[in-house]
Symmetry: C2
Amino acid sequence: MIKTLCLIGVGMIGGSLARSLRLSRWCQSIVGIDVSSKAIDEAIALGVIDEGYTTIDQYRHIPDVVVIAVPVMKVHVIFEQIKHWMDQCDAITDVCSTKQSIINDYKNVFPDKGASCFVPGHPIAGRERSGIAAALDDLYQNRRVILTPMENTRQQSLQLISEMWQQAGAHVELLSAEKHDRILAATSHLPHALAFSLVHCLSTQSHTDEIFRYAAGGFADFTRIASSDPTVWREICLANSHELLEALAHFDTSLQKLRDCLAAGDGDALQTIFSEAKDARDRYTDS
Amino acid sequence: MIKTLCLIGVGMIGGSLARSLRLSRWCQSIVGIDVSSKAIDEAIALGVIDEGYTTIDQYRHIPDVVVIAVPVMKVHVIFEQIKHWMDQCDAITDVCSTKQSIINDYKNVFPDKGASCFVPGHPIAGRERSGIAAALDDLYQNRRVILTPMENTRQQSLQLISEMWQQAGAHVELLSAEKHDRILAATSHLPHALAFSLVHCLSTQSHTDEIFRYAAGGFADFTRIASSDPTVWREICLANSHELLEALAHFDTSLQKLRDCLAAGDGDALQTIFSEAKDARDRYTDS
């Protein structure tokens, strides 16, 4: 249990964490910081935070734990703004979908290699809807959270952030930032890129209205992630562009193989691809 | 209301139609034909059909309406086997996902251009699960069914099949077979090809276990259609390979644009693609 949690970025991801920690009574009070006063007002009205400010310097105390829940590209600015907290907080973490870029941002602002309270983190959970009103009590229940501690991350800080996520119902796992970024490029960033690309491709064709008119449930499922926040995803894709381009190149090879099968009318080869894919999905995924 | 409906192919798609028609009491009896005696037994036990046979010639009567619900590539064999019904039934239809290939199959077996009771059809609904046990009463409720009548399709037959689908709760629309195939290539066949390709691509990488371990809900949604029946989809893709290859070429151009943006770090162009995609999806899709 801690005294004060400071949530920087009062949106769906951070708000869901705050909601679950409030339920588990892990923190006595939650202060929210967000450039949007509307988000602050809404979060207070919803009971997600106790108090809120639109700039960090309006908050005059030192929180025990800080959760940075802003889009990837804004994290480095936040690091600058909370420089004075870094030696005084018990732990500072983030929730961004890329980890190497965040660690690079950290190192640019804090080149000192002494022990650090910063614990890079990423909850593997989300919704297409954004904003504090979309925050859920149980978003992290039974979901995985990956922490990618730096060499100089303090053990106590790592333990505290692990405890926080466990209180939110999540399973905490540790990975290197490199591995995290490679895996997430494959399972998250690549599918988002494909879904955005597909819908964009179809929406720029001459018979778009008819195309979407006859789309069935499979299409709605397949393209659901293309309703995600474009700014958030632009930033994630740019921040992890190297790994994403690698994943796209892998995918391109697979797709070319499928096109070759189609062009050659090679049903056996096509069936092999489809069967192996179905087997893998059925083995690993339960929905 | 008709007397006898003959369902050739007693699986999820045909079985769902039979279930809904039984509820609406549109036909007095339903006879099922399936090569699998297990499927027949199960369908009788579930009350989906009244009687069933493993070959068409075991059924000694002439049904009023015939629904061919077998995989695309098997339809031409069925046409051969029901040649003697073609002049005596009120209407014969199919439920296949490609329409030009089915019409070609029809024309090969019935080169006579006189009036025909055959009404090519395609319900835009489905599930990843297959088999008669996966059939649902309400699969077609409020879903679209596309009928693509041939030049020589009888008006009465078209009306009867329209009535059948309306009884199943569906909205019937007419399209040319060419247009149907082009649209479905974009909204159904292409997404399936991409989903199968993506899962296959990830399942053949060295760290497959870890990739799938950290996959979240978005990935499950995106790849759900890759759990579809590989044989069915092999046949659909081959039967509509020309349109699918065209759709893949379009998609490839879109994907290459996205890769160029990523490689150049062009966030504005990336955001334009993502925003336009999100807008299109949110405009056309409600889930």
